[in-house]
Amino acid sequence: MMNKAFAVTLDPATSLQNHTGSWRTLRPVNVFKLPPCNNQCPAGENIQQWLFYAAEGDYEHAWRILTEENPLPACMGRVCYHTCEGKCNRGFLDESVGINSVERFLGDYAIEHNLAFKRPSKETGKKILVIGAGPAGLSAAYQLRRFGHSVHIVEAAKEAGGMMRYGIPTYRLPRNILDAEIKRITDMGVTIECGRKIEDIEAEKKNGKYDAVILGLGASVSAGADIPQGDTTHVLNALSVLGQIETTGEIEIARRVTVYGGGNTAVDVARSLRRIGAEPVIVYRRNREKMRANAEEMDAAIAEGIQVKWLSTISEASKDALKIEKMVLDENGKPQPTGQFEELPSDAVVLALGQNVDKTALSKLQNLQMEKDSVVVNNETMMTSIDGIFAAGDVATNDRTVTHAIGMGKNAARGVNAFLNGSTYKKPQKHDLAKFEDMHPWYYTDAPKTVRQELEVARRSNTFDEVQFGLTEENAIFEARRCLSCGNCMECDNCYGVCPDSAVVKLGPGKGYEFNYDYCKGCGVCAQECPCGHIKMVPEQI
């Protein structure tokens, strides 16, 4: 031991006795904001979280987080219209993150590695009947099973999958993928009974001693149109065309086909027909901006040589031609006839003007409140006007996408679970939206050009042959790593590093950070330099 001089010589790190936290007038706190992707996702996927793990290469962890909200990632990675990407904050920087392709990669990874869902840790003994094995029903069944309930699905069609099987062409969703993801749900103990259409829901519930029922019926009936037509005109509906292609792999149809409609189904039909050698022309009464179909799908369709007649209605059909009337949009955006006509050579017409739910069984339910084409449900609990009967998917909404169906299925399961526990499900309050202005974009790197080009191809490949063009692991990680982690910690250590007072404590991987208020002087550098906008300075209560 040295003989230290008084006062002039000091022992090391003795400043720790000086608690500079008392200087503070503002204190940093961690805030969790809702990333726009998550906010947008109809299935409520915690995208930022699963990208976080995907970026690390921990695919299973990522998949498990993903499947907390959505049991069908491999399917969704293909068929979801990924509106999340349209809201992605990265779009302000360069291009939005290819969330969908990473989801698909994770889904495929799980299939490839035989990842299974965990069975519930304990059984509740409650029985639930789910009607329809489409995305809503499967989602609801999966979530209910996770709660420990026993679930039985009754499906009218020959096979489970609903519109995923009978409404989506195989080039968008190979059936082995669908089968694998359905099997994973049945492996949890969910039973699916196919080929039976329940006519009397009340009786079924009562006889089967179900504690609750979820109506998961899809919109399986194509809407018709009143088109004056000759006898010989070949008019088909979209679902039957798609169903036939699904079942047989092809369809006998003329070369010149007109697809009538502007939704996703119209595009699916057109592109499917294109693949079997036809020359489809889409006729739509509004313009491109008003089109309901997914823009990427539409781009792909055009790229594949499919022609579109915008602002057109079919006023008359004959054997080999259609009489088309030109339309204009009025000030409300509604198409109005112009009285101008032209002729479109066409051997057949496929009507893709929307689908409806088969309401025959529903109409027998007394006191079931309906609105237009769907069942009225409580927005939070998803319960219909009848106690114990819930609804999800096409039957309960006009937003008839697979993603919506999955989200609604999940919500309905939560509603049922609360109902069975004697309470009412309340949706948790959403965090504030993570806005791009809250973030510190300087920190995010640009993609090197070569990698980006490679990715352009990869990102678009999922519109065609996925087996060949699916994302490589490299690209998936690459894409996951582009996530800005909006409003949520990505553990970049900035707060920990930039604190001039070493007053941020790093808790270790996955645990984030905490502030040491003994020393934090409240300068705010951590908040300023947090790339994600995860730190907020709030006034001290002095």
Partner: protein, 352 residues
């Protein structure tokens, strides 16, 4: 696979990056970082110097495996870190005077080497001498130049906040033109610091032909750590000047320390580069070029250049200064710097 993917969420821009291979992570990101300058010091809120000092000293501690001793010139850093009875330093540290840190460093290095030799230790502790820009570019300049001349085994770090902050923000020879200080006030026809004055100490250091000279800022931690680490791989005299914004002296929001330093780099106002034996070997390129006005706007010391009465000619001159830096140091794209090499540089490079 993970390591091969060169594209990261935040690349090397953030302090840590869990996605980087551990060997590539910053020292500051580590939970067991040395914290050579620990909490409880009395620096102002958002002090750039406290931050820069911890960054640099921690990196040097790592590079020397803890065999490091520090000499500190009088100044803010000294005053806020060691007021009796508390020291914020965890490593051997000494303060003597304002203008003599480099020379005390020389003496300490000599002693360390002699003692190691006598005790049969293979490696003597390494020495860092450090001070602010006043202690470096002004009052300690002679001692520093002498240390460079002798090529003593000392790394001198100048924490450059562009004025005498400890005494209340007076002009130093590192104060940029037109900046307000207590001795270059915003009055008269030419408010702020005079044009045509000041020294460029990194270039002067390079002219000594010493093994290593670098500039860095607290806004690029990885660059800073790399430079300190690299500096410690050389023996002989080395110099690093780190831009450390001073919220008080610059009239900067206390949360903007790092942002201001970044802006200084991205405008070209503060060129960041390194040189070995008098020759520039690398330049930190501007990532997102900014007009100087964006830098000036952050700081009240330039309030006279951003308000209604602002003289656009002065802003233009400052922009020209940035443009000259960009050109001379090759701060953009693939441009290459071109500076003459100093005397004795070759000989020093040949010295063991």
């Amino acid at each position: 696979m993970l390591e091969q993917i060169k594209f990261y969420q935040t690349g090397s821009n953030t302090v840590g990056n869990r996605l980087l291979n551990p060997a590539m992570r910053t020292i500051q990101a580590s939970t067991d970082r040395p914290n050579g300058l620990i909490s409880g010091h009395r620096a102002c809120q958002g002090c750039g110097e406290a931050l820069g000092a911890r960054y640099a000293i921690d990196a040097a501690l790592k590079a020397t495996n803890g065999q490091l001793m520090v000499v500190n010139a009088t100044g803010c850093l000294e005053v806020f870190s060691t007021p009796y009875p508390e020291s914020a330093w965890k490593l051997p540290w000494v303060h003597s005077l304002f203008g003599n840190a480099a020379a005390v460093g020389s003496g300490l290095a000599a002693a360390a080497q002699v003692l190691a030799k006598r005790n049969g230790d293979a490696n003597a502790p390494r020495i860092i001498a450090q001070g602010g820009d006043g202690g470096t570019t002004d009052i300690g300049f002679g001692a520093l130049s002498g240390m460079f001349d002798r090529n003593d085994d000392v790394l001198y770090i100048c924490y450059d906040n562009e004025a005498y902050m400890n005494t209340g923000v007076q002009r130093s020879s590192a104060t940029p033109p037109s900046a307000r200080t207590a001795t270059t006030q915003l009055v008269g026809d030419h408010p702020g610091a005079d044009w045509g004055k000041g020294k460029d100490l990194p270039l002067i250091a390079m002219a000594h032909g010493i093994p290593y000279v670098a500039t860095a800022t607290v806004a690029d931690l990885r660059d800073l750590e790399n430079k300190v680490t690299k500096a410690m791989s050389f023996h002989g005299a080395r110099y690093i000047q780190i831009l450390v914004p001073c919220p008080l002296g610059w009239g900067l929001a206390s949360n903007s320390t790092v942002s201001a330093a970044r802006m200084a780099m991205e405008t070209g106002f503060f060129p960041v580069y390194e040189a070995e034996y008098g020759k520039i070997t690398s330049v930190r390129k501007i990532r997102q070029k900014q007009p100087v006005l964006n830098y000036l706007k952050m700081q009240r010391r330039y309030a006279h250049l951003t308000g209604k009465k602002a003289d656009p000619n002065v802003v233009a001159r400052l922009q020209a200064l940035c443009d000259a830096n960009i050109k001379n140091f090759g701060l953009l794209g693939d441009d290459e710097p071109n500076a003459p090499v100093a005397i004795q540089a070759y000989e020093r490079s040949q010295a063991v």
